[in-house]
Point group: C2
Chain length 242, copies 2
DNA sequence: AAGTGGTCTAGACCACTGA
DNA sequence: CAGTGGTCTAGACCACTTG
C-alpha cells in the first residue's frame, strides 16, 4: 500500500526504507523480512525490482536469504576490519628514495626462494609528514636482467603494486600483510630519528602470484613518536567509516 | 556462439568464463568487455542473465561499468586490506577472565566522555595458545545500574560485540581499530611472561554508536615472542585469501 | 499444497556517449 | 544517429521449506 514519494529508482526507495527499519532497531538480527511477493505488491512493482533492493542489503551484509524460507536480518560482522595501507605518499614529492641492486641475504633468499648470490633490487624510501620522517620503507624485487623497463620505471614515483605488475604477465596477484611490533634496525632508527630501544610498528608485505610464489616484498617501519604512526582499521557498515 | 558445456546456472558459467579471461591476463586493466547484448547473443540468453554475471564481477572489484560506454577491466585495489580481529577465542574455554567494576581513570573518562568518579566495568582476559599466553586483553564498558542483564551476561563467554549490543537499542554501531607498537604495562607484561622492555603489538578498539559516542573500549597487548602474535591482513581477490 | 527464494525469458523505455 | 548500460515489467519453472 506504500505510495511513492521520493525520487529516483524504485529499488533504491525500497532499499532505503528497509535499511531504515534496520537502523532504528525495528528489525533486529534474526528477524524475518517480508517476502519478495509481499514487498512487490506493497510497492506495486515486480519481484525483479524488489530483489534488486534486497540484494543490495545482502551485499552489505545486513541481511541474508534462505531459499524456501525467506530473508532474515544478519548479525553484524564486527570482527572483520578494512584497512588502507598508507601508500598514497607515492604520489607525493616529499619522499626521499634510493635504489640499488644488492646481493640477497638469507632472509631474502628464503622469501623469494632464490639461490645464494642472487641479486635483488632494493628500493628505500623515507616517508615524511610535515618535515618529520614518520616511516622508513624498504622494498625488494628479484633482479633479472632483460625484464622490460624495470630499471627505468623504478626511477619514477610508481606505486609498488604497479611495479610488481611489470613482473607478472597478469594483474592478478594478491598481497599478504604481517603486522608486528619490533625494535627498529639501526638504519631505520637513524632515518626515523628514534632510538633502537623504541618500539616501532613493522608492516611486512608479500606480493604473491597465483602459484603462491613471492614476487615482491616490502617492509615498513612506522615511527610511534608521540602517538603518531598508528594504523587505523574499521568494521561495520560502509557509510559509518569516516 | 558459445555452446553450454558446464553445469549449473548460466550466469555462473558466463561469470567463470569472463573471470578466466581476467585471470590469464587476456583482458587487462582498462580493456573493454563485450557489451551486454553481445554476451547475451553469444550465450543465447537475455541481458538480465548477462547482467547478473557482470554484476558479480563488479561486486568483486574486477570490472566497472560506464553507462553509455560499456564495461571495463578495473585496476586491482592492492592497498585495501581485510583484517580479521582474532576474537574466536571467546568461544574457547582456555581463556582466563576477570571482571570488576572500577573508577574510570583520566583516559577512560576522556574516551567515554564521563565525569570523574564515574565507574566502568573492566573485563580482563588472557588469551592462550598451547598453554602459552599470547595476548592480554582488557575491555571497558560504562557502568550504569539498571541496564538489563549486563552483570549476568558478562559471566559467560559472550563475544564483546554482543555485550556492547546489549547497551544500544540497535545493532548498528561501528568499530575503529588503532594499531601501534608499545612497551607493555607491568600487568600485561607479567601475564604475557615478557619483560616491560620488549615491544608488543597494541590493538585499541573503539565501539562507536551512530552519534559517534564511544560505547565500548578494548585494548589488547599481543606478545611478539618468537615471531608469534603477528596480525595478518590480505588484499586482492577473495578466492586468493587463504 | 502453498509459499519461499533462485533462475530465466522477452520484451520495454530511459539517459547517456560517440561517431 | 545507433549503441550502451540502468531500470523495470509480467510473466515462467524449479527446488526447497513448512504446515
Amino acid at each position: 500500500m506504500n505510495m511513492r514519494q521520493q525520487t529516483g529508482p524504485v529499488y533504491l526507495e525500497i532499499y532505503r526504507n528497509l535499511k531504515q527499519e534496520l537502523r532504528t532497531g525495528e528489525k533486529k538480527p534474526g528477524d524475518e523480512l517480508p517476502s519478495e511477493n509481499t514487498l512487490a505488491s506493497q510497492y506495486s512493482t515486480t519481484r525483479t525490482t524488489v530483489r534488486k533492493s534486497l540484494q543490495l542489503l545482502e551485499k552489505e551484509g545486513l541481511i541474508h536469504s534462505w531459499a524456501g524460507k525467506g530473508y532474515f536480518v544478519s548479525e553484524p560482522a564486527h570482527n572483520r576490519f578494512s584497512l588502507d595501507f598508507p601508500e598514497d605518499e607515492n604520489q607525493r614529492p616529499d619522499t626521499y628514495k634510493r635504489i640499488r641492486v644488492i646481493k640477497a641475504d638469507g632472509e631474502l633468499q628464503r622469501i623469494f626462494n632464490i639461490l645464494p648470490g642472487s641479486r635483488v633490487i632494493e628500493i628505500c624510501r623515507n616517508i615524511e609528514d610535515n618535515g618529520q620522517c614518520t616511516a622508513y620503507d624498504v622494498k625488494y624485487l628479484p633482479y633479472t636482467r632483460g625484464k622490460p623497463m624495470i630499471e627505468q620505471e623504478i626511477n619514477y614515483f610508481v606505486p609498488f603494486p604497479d611495479i610488481v605488475s611489470l613482473l607478472v604477465p597478469t594483474f592478478l596477484f594478491y598481497t599478504r600483510l604481517e603486522l608486528s611490533a619490533q625494535f627498529p634496525p639501526a638504519d631505520a632508527a637513524s632515518v626515523l630519528g628514534c632510538s633502537v630501544d623504541e618500539p616501532v610498528l613493522v608492516l611486512c608485505r608479500y606480493f604473491m602470484d597465483q602459484n603462491d610464489r613471492c614476487i615482491g616484498y616490502g617492509r615498513r617501519y612506522q615511527s610511534q613518536h608521540g602517538g603518531k604512526g598508528k594504523l587505523l582499521a574499521f568494521s561495520g557498515y560502509p557509510e559509518r567509516r569516516p
